[in-house]
Amino acid sequence: MNASDNAPLLVVEGVTKRFPGVTALDKVSLSVSKGEVLALIGENGAGKSTLMKILAGVQRPDEGAIRVDGRDVSLDSVQSAQASGIALIHQELNLSGNLSVAANMFLGREPLRFGLIDTHKIQQEAALLLERVGLDVSPETIVDALSIGQQQLVEIARALSVDARVLIMDEPTSSLSQHETERLMEVVKDLRSRGVSIIYISHRLGEVKELADRVTVFRDGKNAGDLQRDEINHDRMVRLMVGRDISQFYARTPHQPGDIALEVQGLRSSSHPACELNFRVRAHEIVGIAGLVGAGRTELLEVLFGVEEAASGTVSIGGREVALRSPLDAIQAGVALVPENRKQQGIILEMSVRTNIGLAGLRQHRKKAGFLNQGQEARDVATMIERLRIKTPDEHQVTQYLSGGNQQKVVLGKWLAIEPKVLLLDEPTRGIDVGAKQEIYRLMDELAKKGVAILFVSSEMEEILGMSDRTLVMHEGRITGELLRDQLSEEAVMQLATGRLEAVAS
C-alpha cells in the first residue's frame, strides 16, 4: 500500500442497486481521497454510471452506505449531493436546448440580484469557464445550435462552475477529439492540484493511464479489483475488465482496394456552403475522417445519407450518380449510416432488439401487400445476435435495458442485415468498452474484406491510426488533407485538424 496521508474523502461501501431485470450493482465499494484522480473502468453495463448517479443523488441505492468525511450521508436528491460537494458530468448530455449556454451552465444555481437572475454575472463567469475548456462560442449562444462535442464541452464547463470537492466525470471525452481531450487533461490536473477529488470514467484507456492515481475496476456490477498508480497499464486494465487478455487490438488485415464505391464531387453542405468537398472511397477500403469537434464530419455523413440535402455537388454510388433526398434514397442506393447520436437516431429505445434489428430490412423482405415476413426477420435477427455477440437475454429484450456497447451492436446489426455497399460510421465506438470495440473493429475488417466500402468518423486518434487505410482530415468544414497509411501519424493528423497546415496534396 502506498502511504497516503489523506483519509478517504468519499467512501462507498456495499452498494447494491437493482433494476427490473438486472442487478446493476452488487455490493460494490470504492473510495477516493482528497486531491486524487480515481479512474473507474469496466465493460459496458458494469454499473459505473449507475453508481455515479447514486452519488449525484439522481438515483437511490437499494442497500449500502456512502460516507463523506467519514460521516454517513443520505444522497436522496441532487441538492443533497451538491451540499455534500459532489458534482457529476453525466454520460449523456443533459442540457436544455432552448436556453443559452450561460443559462445552462448556471441552471439551478443562478446568482441573484434583487431577487432576480443576475444575467450579467452569469454571462461573465460563463465566458471565463468556456475559455478554460477551450470552447470558442459566445455564452449567449442557444445550445441547440451547438454540435454534440461542443455541448459536451458546455457540460464540462458547467461542472467546473460548481465548487465541487468531488467531481465525477462520466465519459467526458466520448465526443471529443484529441485536441479538446488534451485541454481537458490539463483542466483535470489543475483541479487535482487544487485538492479537488475526481472520479474519472472512460473507455479510452490511454487517458486513464495518463491521469489516474488509482484505478478501480467493475465487472458485472461487482468490484473486480484495484490498480495503484504504478500498476496501471493497458493489459492489466483490460484483464481486470474483461477477465481475459485482448491481444491484437486493431484487427486489420491489408485489403486490395476495388472499384470506386463512393464518389463525392463538388459537394457543399448547407452549413458550410463555402467549402467544396471532393473524395472517393473504393470497395474493400476503410477510410477514416479525423478532425476537431465541430469540424463538420457528422454533417458530411448526414449529407451522404440523405438526412440533410446538399447545397450543390454530386454523389455517385457504385459509379451511378444518385440523388439523396432522404435516408431511404441512400439505403436504396446501398448506403448505411451508424449515427453518432445512438439513442436519438440509431435505435428505438422502447422497442425490442428484434424490432430494431429488423427495421431496416422490413421493406426488402416484405411479402405481398406489405405483410411482414416474420420468418425472415427472425432468422436475420438470430444471425445478427450470434454474429455480433450481442449480449441480451433474448431477442424480445427492450433495447433500453442493454448496455451502450450492445446497443451499438444492435445498430450495426440493423445495417448488416441489409448488406450495404457503403457503410458510414459516425464515432462507431463512442462510449463502448474495449471488448466491444475490438469486436467492432473485427467486424469492420471483415466487412471490408467482403467488399464493403467503409467511411468512418472518429475523434479517437488511436482508432484513426489503427483502423484506416486512408485518412481524410477536416477542419472547419473543409478537407484539409488526405493521409495514406504510410503518411499517417498523430502529428500529421493534428496539424491538419487544427488548420495549421493546409496540405498541398489534392
Binding site: R18, F19, P20, G21, T23, F305, V307, S326, P327, L328, A330, I331, Q332, L337, P339, Q344, Q345, G346, I347, I348, L349, E350, M351, T355, L359, A360, L362, R363, R366, A369, G370, F371, L372, K414
Partner: protein
C-alpha cells in the same frame, strides 16, 4: 393484452352492477342500443388511434363528422346530385382533409394539435355556412338504402331468417371488420410496424429508411377517412343534423376511448381491442347512469372520473408489476 385486462375488469363490474340494479338492463332492446352506440364510437376511436400511434392527435374529428353529415344531404337533396356522387364527394373530402393535415404536419412541421385545432374550427364554419345553419335530414327515401348500415343484421342479404341477426346491429359487424383489418394492418404489415416505430422515435425511424412523412400522412388520411365514414353512420343513425353542433366533442370521446384502451398520447403504443373496450365502457357508463337513475347532470363527471380511475389503476398496476418483477428476480439472484 394484460393492459386491456384492467379496463375489461371495470367494464364487467359496471355491467354486472347495472344488470343487478335494473332488470331491464339486459333486455334485447337495451343491449341492441348499447351495442350500436359502442360500435359507432368504437369506429371513430379506431380512426384516431392511427394518428395517436404516430404521436399526433386529431382534434378535428367532430367537426369533420359534422361537415360530412351536413354535406351529404346538401349535395343529394339541395343540389339534386345522385347519391353515389354525394358519397364519393364526402369520402374524397375526408381524404383531402387527412392529406392536408398530414402535409401541413410533415412538410411545414406544424404541430398536430394546432393544425387539427384549426381544422376543428374551419370545418365547422364551412358546414354551417354551406347550408346557412339549416337543419339537414336523412328522412328522404334516397337514403333508405344506406340506412341498412345502422339497422340490424337481419336486413342484410341472406340473413333474414337467422334468429340472432335481429338483435345485432350492422354497425357492430362493421366495427368487427374494421377492428380486424386495423389489427392486422398494425401488427402484421410493415406499414403498421413503421407507424409504431416512428411513433416512438421518428428520427431513428427516418434513419432506418422509413419514409416517415409519408407514413404520417397515411395515418392522418386513414383517420379522416374513418371519421368521415363514422360521420355518415352517425348521421344515418340520428337522422337529423344540426350543422352547428353535430359531432361536437366527438374527438374527445374518440381520444378518450383510445387512451382508456391503452394508447399513449406520446405515440408508439396502441391496441385495437383496447380502444373498442374503451369506447364500450364509455357508452356503457352513460347507459348505466340512465338505468340506475343517477342524476343526469352528473354524467360528464362520472365519465371523467372513470377514465381517470382507469388510467390511474393502469399506472399503478404497471408499477406494481415492475416492483414484483424486481423482487422476484432479487430472490432468484439471492437463491
Amino acid at each position: 393484452m394484460k393492459k386491456n385486462l384492467g379496463i375489461l375488469g371495470i367494464l364487467l363490474v359496471v355491467f354486472v352492477a347495472t344488470a343487478i340494479g335494473n332488470s331491464n338492463f339486459l333486455t334485447a332492446y337495451n343491449m341492441f342500443n348499447l351495442l350500436e352506440r359502442a360500435s359507432l364510437y368504437g369506429i371513430i376511436g379506431i380512426g384516431v388511434a392511427f394518428v395517436i400511434i404516430t404521436g399526433g392527435i386529431d382534434l378535428s374529428i367532430g367537426s369533420l363528422i359534422g361537415l360530412v353529415a351536413t354535406l351529404l344531404p346538401f349535395l343529394v337533396l339541395d343540389l339534386s346530385l345522385p347519391l353515389a356522387v354525394g358519397l364519393i364527394a364526402i369520402f374524397a373530402l375526408s381524404l383531402c382533409v387527412g392529406l392536408t393535415h398530414g402535409v401541413l404536419i410533415t412538410r411545414l412541421k406544424l404541430q398536430p394539435f394546432v393544425v387539427t385545432l384549426c381544422g376543428l374550427m374551419i370545418y365547422r364554419g364551412i358546414a354551417r355556412w354551406v347550408v346557412s345553419d339549416k337543419t339537414m335530414g336523412y328522412g328522404n327515401e334516397v337514403f333508405s338504402g344506406l340506412k341498412v348500415l345502422v339497422g340490424n343484421m337481419s336486413q342484410l342479404p341472406g340473413m333474414s331468417g337467422v334468429s340472432w341477426a335481429k338483435h345485432v346491429p350492422v354497425a357492430f359487424l362493421i366495427l368487427l371488420v374494421l377492428g380486424v383489418i386495423s389489427s392486422v394492418f398494425l401488427n402484421k404489415t410493415i406499414y403498421g410496424r413503421y407507424l409504431l416505430a416512428l411513433g416512438r422515435n421518428e428520427q431513428a425511424a427516418r434513419f432506418s429508411g422509413i419514409n416517415t412523412s409519408l407514413m404520417i400522412v397515411l395515418a392522418y388520411v386513414i383517420c379522416s377517412l374513418i371519421s368521415g365514414f363514422g360521420g355518415l353512420l352517425f348521421a344515418l343513425d340520428y337522422g337529423s343534423i344540426q350543422p352547428d353542433s353535430f359531432g361536437n366533442f366527438y374527438e374527445l370521446y374518440a381520444i378518450a376511448a383510445a387512451v382508456l384502451g391503452g394508447c399513449s398520447l406520446r405515440g408508439g403504443e396502441g391496441s385495437i381491442v383496447g380502444i373498442i373496450l374503451g369506447a364500450a365502457l364509455m357508452r356503457l357508463l352513460m347507459n348505466s347512469i340512465s338505468m340506475l337513475g343517477i342524476d343526469d347532470q352528473l354524467e360528464p363527471a362520472v365519465i371523467g372520473i372513470v377514465i381517470l380511475l382507469g388510467v390511474i389503476v393502469d399506472e399503478l398496476v404497471k408499477r406494481f408489476a415492475a416492483r414484483r418483477r424486481a423482487i422476484k428476480q432479487a430472490r432468484e439472484v439471492g437463491a
